[in-house]
Every structure is written in C-alpha cells, then in structure tokens.
Symmetry: C2
Subunit: 365 residues, 2 copies
Amino acid sequence: VIQVQPAGGRAYPVIAGAGVLAHLPELIPPACPHVVLIADDQVARVHGDRARELLAARTRVSLVTFPAGEVHKTRATKEKLEDRLFAEQVGRDGLVVALGGGVTTDLAGFVAATYQRGVPWVAVPTTLLAAVDASVGGKVGVDTPWGKNLIGSIHHPLAVCIDVDLFQTLAGSEVHNGLAEMLKHAVIADPGYFDALLHAAHDLIQLTPAACLSAVVRSVEIKSEVVSADPLERDLRQVLNFGHTIGHAIELLSDFAISHGRAVAIGMSVEAAIACQLQLLSAADLSRLRTALRALGLPVSPPVAMVAGAILQATARDKKGRQGRPRYVLPRRIGEMSTGPAGYAREVSDAVVIAALHEAQACSA
Amino acid sequence: VIQVQPAGGRAYPVIAGAGVLAHLPELIPPACPHVVLIADDQVARVHGDRARELLAARTRVSLVTFPAGEVHKTRATKEKLEDRLFAEQVGRDGLVVALGGGVTTDLAGFVAATYQRGVPWVAVPTTLLAAVDASVGGKVGVDTPWGKNLIGSIHHPLAVCIDVDLFQTLAGSEVHNGLAEMLKHAVIADPGYFDALLHAAHDLIQLTPAACLSAVVRSVEIKSEVVSADPLERDLRQVLNFGHTIGHAIELLSDFAISHGRAVAIGMSVEAAIACQLQLLSAADLSRLRTALRALGLPVSPPVAMVAGAILQATARDKKGRQGRPRYVLPRRIGEMSTGPAGYAREVSDAVVIAALHEAQACSA
C-alpha cells in the first residue's frame, strides 16, 4: 500500500500486488448503496464477471460497458455512460469503479468527476501505464477532434487497486506505453531503478507479475514525489515531459501509427542526444539509455522515412510550448535532470535538434 | 467588493455596483492572452458589443453565443461551445467570461471547468438570481433529460462582476427567481434584511439599481457565510433548502410551467405553515412571511387545481431525501431556522404536510 497525497486533497491508498483484486470490495465505503463498474467490452468479457461478483458481495452493482479503443474516449461516449447511470438510478451517493486501461480510467474517472457534480471513483487499472497514470495526478478526460485529453478535469480517485495478475491480457502497444513511461521515471529520478528495469527487462516484457509489481510501485512513488513537490506545475513537474517534445511530434507525424510509448521511447533517445550535443549528458549515459530502451523492446530512432526537418516543425505544435517555441527537459545523467537558468524546461536551437535527430537516425542499426 | 473564501480554495472578489462593468477588464489577469466571452444570443444583442469592447482594450476577445433558454443548458450546447473554443484556438492560458443569467453562468462556468482540464472564469451575472448563485458556491453544470443540473462540477470563478445597471432587461420570471431567493436568505439568517426587502419591495420589482445592489450584497454575504461555515454540506447548509422540498414538488407537478422562483415562494409559504403546525413558528411570523411574499409579487398558495396528495407524493422524488422520505428545513422565527435532534433537516408526518398544504391553499385569497 502506497499513500498518495494530492495537493490540497485527501490522501488515498494505492494497493498493489498479485491477486489484490480480491480486496477491491474493502475499498468501497460501507455506506455506499450502489457501485457502477465501468469497463470496455473486451475487458468486461475477461474480468467483468469476477469484478462484479466481488463487489456484489458488498453492495448493489451495475456493470456498464463501452466499445474498446481510444477512438471511443469521447464526449459522446461519456454522455452515453452518464445516461446509463441515470437509467440505473445511480444517485449522488453512488461510486464508479473504472476497470481497464488508460482509456477506461480516463473516461470513467471523468464520468465520476461530473456526475451529479462529482461522485467518488476507484481505479482498477489493467495495464502498466494506467497503473501509474491513474494512481497519481488525478488527470481524467476525453479526446476531441482537436487533440487528446482536451476536455477533462482533475478528480483524484478514492483508492487505486493494482492487481498485477490482470496485466496478462495486454496488447503489445500497451506494454510499450507502460515500459517507456517507467524508463522515463528511472531516467528522471532514480539510477538504481534504471538498473533494475534493465536487469528485469525480459520479465517485464513477459509481464511477469513480480517484475511488474516492483516497477509499478517504484514508478508510482517517483511520480507521486514529483507531483507533490510541484502541485501547480510550476517547474519540477516538467521533468515528466522528458521524451515528449520529440515524442509527440513523431506520434503526430505518424498519424498515431506509432504508439505513444514507442514515440516517447524515440523521443527520449533523441532528447538524450540533444543533451549530449549540449554537453549536459555523457556519451556513455546516452548509450546506456539506448541499451535499456532496446532491452525493453523499444525503438531508439525515428523512422528513416521521417525527415528531420518535418519532425522539428511538428514540435512547434506542442501544447506545452510558449509562443510556438517548443521546450525540452534534458537529463544530465541517468537519474537526474538538468536545470538551466529558466528551470527544467529550456529552448534548444533548431540546429542542435536537427543534429540530434540525424545522430539518432544514424544509430538505428 | 466582497471577498468570498471557498473551502480549500483561493478567496476571490465579488465587485458589485451600478456601472461596475467598466471595471471588468481589471478583473482579467494581465498575462491572459485570450478571453472568450460567452453569452446567449439575446444578452449578446443587448450587452455583447459593450462587454467585448471593454475587454478588447485589455486582450484578444472572442464572443461566442448560444441560443437563449434553459432548454439549451445541455451537454450538447456545452460540446458546441467547446468546439468553438477549439476553433478559436483558445489555449490553456485562456479565460472564460460568462455574461448572462443563471443558464449562462452555469453553462459557461462548466465549459471553463473542463476545457483543457480547467481554465479560469469570471462571472458577469445579468439577473438577480445569477448574481447570488454565481457568486457563491461554485456550482456549475448542465441539465439532462433526467433532471436539472445533474452533470456538473464545482469550479469557483476568479472574480464576479455584478453591475446592477444590467438588470434592467430581465424577464419577469427571472425577477421572481431572484426575489424568492433573497427573501429565503432573509428568513434563514437576518430579520433586518427581511424588513429591508419588505420596505424596498416596490423598488426591487422595478429593478431599481440601488435597491438591487443592497439586496444582492446582503444575499451574497449570507450565502457566503452559510456555505463557508459548512463547506461539506453536512448540516447548516441545508437551511438553503428552505422552501425547496415543497417548491420542487410544485415545479415538477406543473411541468415547469410555474417558474422556480414562484414555486419556491409557494414552498416557503407552505413550509412555514408546516413550522406553524409543529408549533416551531408563530402565526404572526407566518403572516409576516406571506405579507412579504405578496409585496414582492410572489404567490403564497399552490394552484387550487393541484391536489394536496399529489404534491405530497411529488416530494418523495426530491433528490435530497433519504430512502424516499423527503426532509424539511423549517424556520423558528423570521431570521432563524430551527434545529431538531438530527440537525436542521427533519422528516415531517404526511398528515402535517397535508394540513399545511390545505391551510396555504385556503389563504390564497
């Protein structure tokens, strides 16, 4: 059990382990008269009955599903789910349980955030990435035609239940998303964790529960420390964007054919190369990062067909930039990010970005 | 200027006066690059140009409108407004200004609450009721086919600008809504305010700016005191439901032909009669309440055609009840609510409710 303390909010427990789904009912407040279990149709097929039965021993349960896939993480799906909750007569004393990957925790958490002005929710993530993302930060929301997660709010869960035994059913891209995120945490904050991920790479790719558990726990701790040290996203929290300036550009340019996790992996490789060009990071650490990426089955180079100039241009569309100038957070060694005069995020000259992109493309062998 | 201090949030200013719209630009943070002014088409026609010009002296402004009327306070309208904001490229550093009545402040405040996970908003209420409601409590939201305000959140404004000169264009039902709400505040908390409302009744009905200003200020103060004394809606805050148990039932039974304000006025008259039946309130105070209601142009009796038994039945649908038993908050004299063993809200026997309904219907002359 990890206690997560959101800024200005109540601390909540994250329980993680093999088989802890059995403890899910204990996370529901005794007085709760009605639980709505929200899952996509695929996860519902695999885990829905078990979760419903466990909860039904505690209180009234309604299972509500939606079609699987990020394409359904929309305002329209949110409205349909809300209408189902009204039809099931879920009151202000109801509670939402989100069972699934990041699409489900984002969507169901957002449903909970605005249903009757907010009902509590419990996250039961079934992917590595959702385990980390749903546990810390409280970000919930849906996509729009203008971009991902553009409508949403901050709504911290009442509790998070991470049963690493549920991770067995992941699609490959979901594994990549989780592993890239975890390696990012290691590079940001913990060289020991970096070594552990490298060491356990094979087991992690196979989703071995014990390996997943230690990694999830350490990632939740790191993210929680970063977020609580900088609740207002003033400076430190920007370190979580490592790999994302280039990563987002590549994801966009590929028209999302390259998954978020793989794009961020490439982004970390390129941004570490930028840090090398700027003599912030040693060549040895750049090489160690790429070794770890490869060991985790992640790419280190942009596709050869993607022209460096086009990637550079796409970075200008990053929503975290100021006046169209994208900003980068860069490592100074494995486990520590570099700070400049303006804090963690800095602008980088186009020439350096282009050089780093070429360097990364050249190392693709 | 009244400072309102929400629980666990930042204090914000409510500026109120005749002509204070001119100070609206000063409420916008200097660094804000883009303001979205949201108004319904009717209010936009009357006040849109002036508000836009005032703001344009400060920063970039987009005026976005929607069709007037509670029937448009929906998730669909929210989505359309969001799409307009995206099309206007409003970023996370944008700000929403809600210019209008309660529909607009509820809807635009809710748009602000979830746009890019929340942008700040400034309320510029143009009705008496919206002035009080938007100023305190932070409740924003939209209606659904299952009921009013069922999807929403709490999103306190950055500031509220109440220009009583804008109130001239109110529809009659909006005046009733505001006056009923204000009289409710007086009965709950302040006998001096009650006398002042009675004294100024004629000016208030005419929307005389000076009369509106003192009433709005006192109502905002009272509501703010009640809400900040009980941020979690544990007990005291329920006094704000005075008149609403019967009021909601009558509103529902009339299929919303009776406006909220008139329904709550009838509700206060009936619930005060309940308090009399229970010997909590004197007959003299019941009579004073009805005198004030009549002076403010508000009804004191349910329509004769509405059968008491039907009203009683409709109270069971109140969302604030427990297990279908509606609860009442009752005055012990003008300016003070009564507390029972379970706090301010109490159950009342059907016989007493029926008797009070008959009594109120009989006094309709």
